[in-house]
């Protein structure tokens, strides 16, 4: 049978010192271990989400030949401003859900711009506008933009390209915040003036956003078709967005707690054995008595 003993001493004594040192070492060491092995709190985590990307059916195409420049866009006002350079276009747009998860992930786009002489185009700038919505962690609505610029030494009349829309973030997402500041329209359709139509300014404004998307082109090819007009064929994939975020308080606390308790248990055991050894062998002067003795005396 185990006899429980209690040790007594005055407040200022070696026994008190031993108690203070063992308690500090027991409860402080797990913190030190956690801090020096990659930090106590988790500052950043990532997750992947298939965002809902929707093509807005809005585009601006700027075609440049050696002498002429042509514009075709879905904005009525732009077409009116550049009425000399404007050429009408026919668009075929299909958005597909190839992996059948309910969210579109492939855009097949074909734009045919008529009224352009055979094989005269060497340079193209294409802006496509999308709406992207993230909703798994916090709500983020983006007006996102895909920009393609391509140059060819040979005069051509058809462009094929494959690309992927990727998410670019300069700030970590925070929990349960609805981000509305990124859903404004880059080009206000009803009120376009010449100053707002500066491509440099549009791109700079867009790229200085904290959250945006980029078009990464895997492959671009130019062709001669010996036909009038210019044709753009595009396959654009909506890749799952990899988003890094700051974990909320309870998520951080959970992992901190697990780390702390896991490394605390061995320390408690070891220091308990040490304390028992010290007090049982009277290494520091204490008055030791059994519980039964204590009861009798009181």
């Amino acid at each position: 049978m185990e006899i429980s003993k209690e040790s007594f001493s005055t407040i200022v004594s070696k026994a008190t010192l031993v108690q203070i040192i063992t308690i500090t070492l027991t409860y402080l060491s797990p913190f030190l271990i956690a801090y020096f092995t990659g930090g106590f709190w988790i500052k950043e985590k990532t997750f992947t989400e298939q965002a809902e990307v929707k093509f807005q059916y809005r585009f601006i195409a700027l075609l440049e030949g050696e002498t002429n420049t042509y514009i075709s866009s879905s904005y009525e006002s732009i077409n009116q401003i550049y009425s000399n350079e404007y050429r009408p276009s026919v668009r075929t747009i299909t958005e597909l859900d190839t992996n059948e998860d309910g969210i579109n992930d492939l855009l097949e786009l074909s734009i045919f711009i008529s009224g352009i002489p055979i094989d005269t185009i060497t340079n193209i700038k294409l802006i496509l506008l999308f709406n992207s919505t993230l909703s798994a962690y916090s709500k983020l609505k983006l007006e996102s933009l895909a920009y393609l610029e391509s140059y060819n030494a040979k005069k051509s009349s058809e462009l094929n390209f494959d690309g992927e829309i990727q998410f670019v973030q300069r700030e970590k997402l925070r929990e349960k915040i609805t981000y509305n500041g990124y859903s404004y329209q880059l080009l206000n359709e009803s009120n376009i003036d010449l100053e707002a139509l500066n491509l440099d300014k549009i791109m700079r404004d867009y790229n200085s956003r904290e959250y945006s998307t980029r078009l990464i082109t895997d492959f671009v090819s130019w062709k001669n078709t010996l036909a009038e007009g210019f044709r753009i064929n595009a396959h654009i994939r909506y890749a799952p967005f990899t988003i890094s975020y700051v974990p909320a308080f309870w998520e951080q606390f959970k992992w901190g707690w697990i780390q702390y308790i896991c490394s605390l248990i061995p320390f408690i055991y070891v220091f308990k054995r040490i304390k028992i050894f010290i007090f049982e062998n009277q290494l520091v002067p204490t008055i030791s008595m059994n519980i039964t003795q204590k009861l009798k005396s009181s």
Partner: protein, 141 residues
């Protein structure tokens, strides 16, 4: 009292911890170039100075430890339980941290923390006990 400290293993433990500390110090002294060489060369540009400092630190701790071993073995502080406790705790920590220093190739400047906490403190306590015994005629326990 004396027999009890041998029975509960305090005296052999203290002896083992001090010897482990001594072994670590001597092995560091022999292969000190590795630890001087792993210092940040931008912060510490004078390697010779570092080497000399490291030799001095190691020699002083070996000397201090030797004095402690002598007072321990001759029996002056052999049966002093509190001194045994401090000595065991700090010298075992020193041996563990020095072995970590060997494993992770610490810079030789980091040795001074170990020197301060694990060599000087037990030596100061030892001196206090010696003074108490010789000048103020305290008992050996």
């Amino acid at each position: 009292m004396g027999l009890k400290s041998v029975q509960n293993g305090l005296v052999p433990t203290r002896f083992m911890c001090m010897l482990a500390h001594m072994v670590m110090l001597i092995s560091l002294l022999i292969r000190r170039n590795e630890y001087v060489g792993s210092c940040d060369t931008v912060l510490y540009q004078n390697v010779n100075l570092l080497n000399n400092q490291f030799i001095i630190g190691l020699s002083i701790s070996i000397g201090i430890l030797a004095i402690e071993l002598v007072t321990f073995i001759t029996g002056i502080t052999l049966f002093n339980t509190f001194q045994s406790l401090i000595s065991t705790f700090l010298h075992s920590s020193a041996a563990i941290s020095l072995s970590i220093m060997v494993f992770f190739k610490w810079c030789s400047v980091d040795f001074w923390y170990i020197f301060g906490f694990c060599s000087c403190i037990p030596f100061i306590f030892e001196i206090i006990f010696l003074i108490g015994i010789w000048l103020f005629k305290r008992t050996i326990n």
